[in-house]
């Protein structure tokens, strides 16, 4: 594994250089902090019961699934947030409090950068019934970057990743970091190496699966005057939980869980969303004791009462 850098103060630029590779090790681009902090070593992590000091709340690094960029070949860029013991950062929908963790890529003209994919979040509850969603430990925000079909082979590609987050223990500290990446371009005239799926596998495994992969679930949305009900019924699943996506929890009034004849039932009552608004979220559940998570989106019911259903493939 490569080194992981420490987080310099907000706004500080840092340069990432490609480490020596070729041993089959994942290319973890090391962040050389321009100012502040020292490299973190595995040996000096505090015991988990002691919260990390504010300066060690979050360390950010970037990682790719390719060694070199090839024209027209999409690759994945991971912005990895290593969250110190006791601290947490936030999901795309932070919930009642907090701030979405963000990663933005600035790439040369002609590069296309896809949407950020967030890993499955956890739920945090604090006094006063304040519910938020986010991550402790480690979270990687993944983005697909597609280089243009024509790319000069003699020049490395320079990209910038701008990361923003809010880290909270009891109190919160905002952070911002810019990482500069310099990645070689594949020389012309030899076969292009496709992205290595093993490289970001650990991070990919933490993304929710697409709704199309969801089996044996019924998701019904009922829009009534001033109120919407969402009900999820699943066979053979336990601990069903729906973490509301952006927009959904604006109006979350009540959540109920139950079981009817072996079918897990999760109900949510919401203040009616804007007309036509698609409700999104991450559905978490246990199947055969193993956790699963799916991205779901529930469009408004056209006739006002039609349920929507996910059926087995």
């Amino acid at each position: 594994m490569g080194r992981r850098g420490t987080e310099p103060p907000a706004g500080t630029g840092a340069t990432l250089r490609r480490p020596m590779s070729g041993l089959g090790a994942p290319l973890l681009l090391a962040l050389l902090a321009a100012a502040g902090g020292r490299p973190a070593r595995a040996g000096d992590a505090p015991p988990p019961t002691t919260p990390a000091p504010e300066s060690e709340a979050v360390k950010v690094s970037a990682s790719l699934d390719v060694d070199e960029i090839a024209p027209g070949v999409p690759f994945t860029l991971a912005t990895v947030f290593a969250v110190g013991p006791g601290w947490h950062i936030y999901w795309e929908n932070p919930g009642d409090a907090g701030l979405a963790t963000e990663a933005r890529v600035e790439a040369p003209p002609g590069f296309e950068v896809g949407r950020v994919a967030y890993p499955v979040p956890e739920r945090f509850t604090s006094p006063g019934d304040v519910v938020s969603y986010g991550y402790s430990g480690e979270a990687a925000l993944l983005m697909t970057v597609t280089p243009p079909a024509a790319l000069p082979a003699d020049r490395p590609t320079r990209m910038k990743v701008v990361a923003r987050w809010l880290a909270c223990l009891d109190a919160c500290v905002p952070g911002r970091l810019e990482l500069s990446l310099e990645v070689p371009t594949a020389p012309s005239g030899r076969p292009i190496q496709p992205p290595d799926p093993a490289r970001l596998a650990r991070h990919r495994a933490r993304l929710p699966l697409p709704a199309a992969d969801l089996r044996w679930a019924e998701i019904r949305r009922r829009d009534a005057e001033g109120e919407t009900e969402l009900e999820v019924r699943m066979k053979g699943a336990g601990d069903v939980d729906l973490l509301p996506g952006k927009g959904l929890d604006v109006a979350l009034r009540e959540v109920r869980r139950g079981e009817e004849a072996g079918v897990a039932v999760l109900g949510m009552r919401l203040r009616a969303p804007a007309p036509g608004e698609v409700l999104t979220g991450v559905l978490k559940l246990l199947r055969d004791g193993r956790p699963e998570a799916y991205s779901i989106e529930v469009p408004a019911s056209p006739g006002g009462g039609d349920p929507r259903k996910v059926v087995p493939p």
């Binding site: 009642d96 907090g98 919160c172 009034r253 929507r308 259903k309």
Partner: protein, 208 residues
């Protein structure tokens, strides 16, 4: 979150499921609701003087949930919209009250810390201490800064965020100043065009 096209389709057994399925819900949680009378309260200011909402009957009142240690509050008062908003509104007859529902031992608690912040940010309006969190809970205040606008009839007219720009970064482009809009509407005798938004910020530091 990367979402594929939805794979939902209308279930044939819909009517049956709708008729038989379902779990019942109890009443909505008790917290302040827009369009209903704002919960009454009496709280001490930093000098221990009691201030009641009913003292301001007939006037428009703004409540600003406050924690001087919260980065969102620091931004809003230090360089953001709260730098002079309260002063301008007060000049037009609006009553502006900050409420700190932080419990003892939590960030931003205590008269001295709040007095220092008020001085640093030239806050002219009172900061009320709600150590028990009772008033914060009655209003359903979850974040700082969370804002409430109460009209001259004592009805809650707006509840939600200060604007759409946490730490000065507008979501979706241009900044929308919800509180100023609500105040303008209320003063013109209209219901605010946007009566509630999702508040943002730090969690209110309630006691356990």
């Amino acid at each position: 979150m990367s979402l594929r096209a939805p794979s939902f389709r209308v279930a044939a057994a819909a009517a049956f499921l709708l008729a038989t399925g379902g779990i019942s819900f109890s009443a909505a949680p008790a917290s302040a609701e827009v369009g209903r009378p704002a919960p009454a309260f009496t709280l001490p200011d930093l000098d221990g003087q009691e201030v009641s909402l009913s003292d301001f009957r007939g006037r428009v009142v703004v409540l600003e949930w406050f924690n001087p240690g919260c980065p969102f509050v620091k931004h809003a008062h230090g360089e953001g919209p709260l730098k002079d908003m309260a002063r301008r509104a007060s000049g037009e007859g609006v009553v502006w009250l900050a409420v700190n529902s932080g419990a003892p031992g939590k960030q931003g608690h205590g008269a001295d810390v709040n007095r220092e912040a008020a001085k640093a940010w030239s806050m002219d309006h009172p900061i009320l201490l709600d150590e028990s969190g009772k008033v914060g809970r009655a209003y359903g205040a979850k974040t700082t800064p969370q804002m409430f606008v109460i009209d001259s009839a004592g009805v809650l007219a707006y509840a939600g965020g200060l604007d759409n720009a946490p730490l000065g970064n507008p979501e979706g482009g241009a900044r929308v100043d919800y509180v100023s809009s609500a105040l303008a509407d209320v003063k013109s005798g209209r219901s605010p065009a946007t009566p509630s938004t999702k508040p943002y910020g730090c969690s209110v530091k309630y006691g356990g």
